[in-house]
């Protein structure tokens, strides 16, 4: 079978597998058994289908196969409680469970994955495993972690779920807002982590951003009236819409100011805008951080060109964002917007009091360069080479340093002209990173 077809098949099997897993986790009472059974069934499908042909009802085939494997595992384990084996009724039939059952099971699994008693990293890892169906190796590639570390974290997380008795249940209405916030946090973190890995060494054929979007779509589909998942999905889609324009042919990052807006995905922008509008209509006066970030992204999407951006509105939105979620990333992005609205001086003042990291130094370098303070800009940008800097970012910053150094280097007499054009005086501030702020 040709390679792309095999990859397509693997995708189908993986996505179908996550549907089956949610129900198996409930009926077996064990996430581990469910995962093992689905994985084995997927392996058999990928082994047999290319030879025997894809069955008429792939979903039913996978369901029955995974169910049989689960029963075998439970029998082998023997010592498991009898009631769990009872629920794995052999006569359960060949039909996949009805969609409504799958939906509830997936919601249960979602809330288990996003239970606040688990750490954020554990939540994200488990969600990618059981809701997206990624293997530990694929998760490691998405999270820029080691496969062994991911496997260990998964084991520890499953152990905590079963030992501490984290329930497999849809939260009651009263607890839903708090639990939904945790779900949104996991969605957003999945995307942010995958997004920051873009441009890094390609370790896998899995596209982490696409998986995170798929996860957000699933959550939105499961809870179509909830404004939180709507806003997170909108934010992701706005960020995704710029994807083609975000990197140059050499893989170097292209700044928001320099992006070819003709390459922005208008269909995604339209979808994101509609989601954001619906989300905002469903919440009253108070906007949550995801809605605000999506609204900022929408402002950028609206502007036909960078200079057309309504910076006053962007700054206003950042002001609200900083007041509800005063993170360093939000404050840094606000400083960039302030510089665009009111000049480099105002931008530099807005940097005061923000905990400096490599992005902070990079923004400071650009603002100093805009003021013509090139030596200081070089020093600041050098400081921006330390820390968790991605390779393309590092290259970009080195280029800036080199350009500014050329501009300040002593000019040989016979050249005759000392006033060379100074690079970096146009708007070229790096995005402070994270979806919605690029």
């Amino acid at each position: 079978m040709a390679h792309p077809v095999a990859a397509e098949l693997a995708d189908v099997v993986r996505v179908e597998g996550t549907r089956i897993l949610a129900t198996l986790a409930r009926t077996t009472g064990s996430l581990q058994v469910a995962e093992d059974a689905v994985q084995e069934a997927a392996l058999r499908a990928l082994r047999d289908w290319p030879r025997s042909g894809v069955p008429d009802q792939p979903r039913a085939w996978l369901t029955v196969t995974a169910r049989r494997i689960a029963i075998d595992i439970l029998r082998r384990e023997g010592a498991r409680a009898g009631k769990e084996r009872e629920s794995m009724d052999l006569s359960a039939g060949a039909d996949p469970p009805p969609d409504s059952v799958v939906r509830d099971d997936r919601l249960r699994l979602l809330f288990t994955c996003c239970h606040p008693a688990l750490g954020l990293e554990a939540q994200v890892t488990l969600a990618l495993r059981v809701l997206c169906g990624l293997s530990p190796a694929q998760i490691a590639a998405v999270l820029l972690s080691g496969e062994a570390a991911v496997a260990k974290r998964l084991t520890r997380t499953r152990t905590k779920i079963s030992r501490a008795g984290i329930p497999y249940r849809i939260p009651a209405d009263g607890e839903l807002p708090a639990r939904l916030a945790a779900v949104c946090g996991v969605l957003h973190a999945s995307y942010t982590i995958a997004h920051s890995a873009v441009g890094g060494p390609r370790l896998s054929d899995v596209d982490g951003c696409r998986e995170a979007v798929r996860l957000a779509r699933l959550v939105h589909e499961l809870m179509p009236d909830e404004p939180g998942p709507m806003a997170v999905l909108a934010l992701m889609l706005f960020t995704e819409s710029r994807r083609a324009a975000r990197t140059g042919p050499d893989g170097a990052p292209v700044l928001l100011a320099d992006q070819d807006r003709g390459r922005w995905d208008r269909a995604l922008i339209a979808e994101a805008t509609a989601l954001l509008d619906r989300s905002l209509r469903r919440t009253d006066a108070v906007a949550d951080p995801y809605q605000l970030q999506a609204a900022i992204a929408a402002e950028h999407a609206r502007a036909p060109a960078y200079p057309d951006t309504d910076w006053a509105e962007v700054v206003r939105l950042y002001d609200i964002l900083v007041s509800v979620a005063p993170t360093a990333a939000a404050r840094l992005a606000r400083a960039v917007a302030v510089a665009e609205l009111a000049g480099a001086d105002a931008g530099l003042r807005a940097l005061d009091g923000i905990e400096p990291d490599h992005r902070w130094h990079a923004v400071r370098g650009e603002l100093l360069a805009r003021q013509g303070r090139l030596a200081e800009a070089v020093a600041a940008t050098r400081a921006a080479l330390d820390g968790a800097v991605s390779e393309p970012e590092r290259r970009h910053r080195r280029d800036r340093i080199a350009a500014w150094e050329r501009a300040t280097a002593p000019v040989p007499e016979r050249d005759g002209r000392a006033d060379r054009p100074v690079p970096g005086l146009r708007s070229g501030i790096e995005k402070p990173g994270g979806p919605g702020r690029a």
């Binding site: 239970h115 008693a117 030992r163 501490a164 008795g165 984290i166 329930p167 249940r169 607890e175």
Partner: protein, 114 residues
Amino acid sequence: MTQYAALTYTADVDWSAPEQAAEMAEYRRFGEENAAAIRGGAALYPTPTATTVRVRGGRGGEVVTGDGPYAETKEALTGFYLLEAADLDEAVRLAAQLPAAWNGAVEVRPVIGR
């Protein structure tokens, strides 16, 4: 049903002192309201009364006793409950009613069943 230990970490106070009476009344109230779920527990005297015991060199080795608890922290282990709950959510709901939850923290740990 699972049993959970709810360990209260709070200021290192003397629960037996008269000035703790109001707080102790709160704990008694918790006890009365949740009697069905409580399998045991106690308030502890403050950490200056604690003795840390170690045996050097394995079983039968030299017994080394020390003054006070293992680590100096702002919040000390000042009491514990043994609770029975259907799942972690229920255990957390119970623990959240303990005054230690707002005056310090409550650590909820599953107990290994016999």
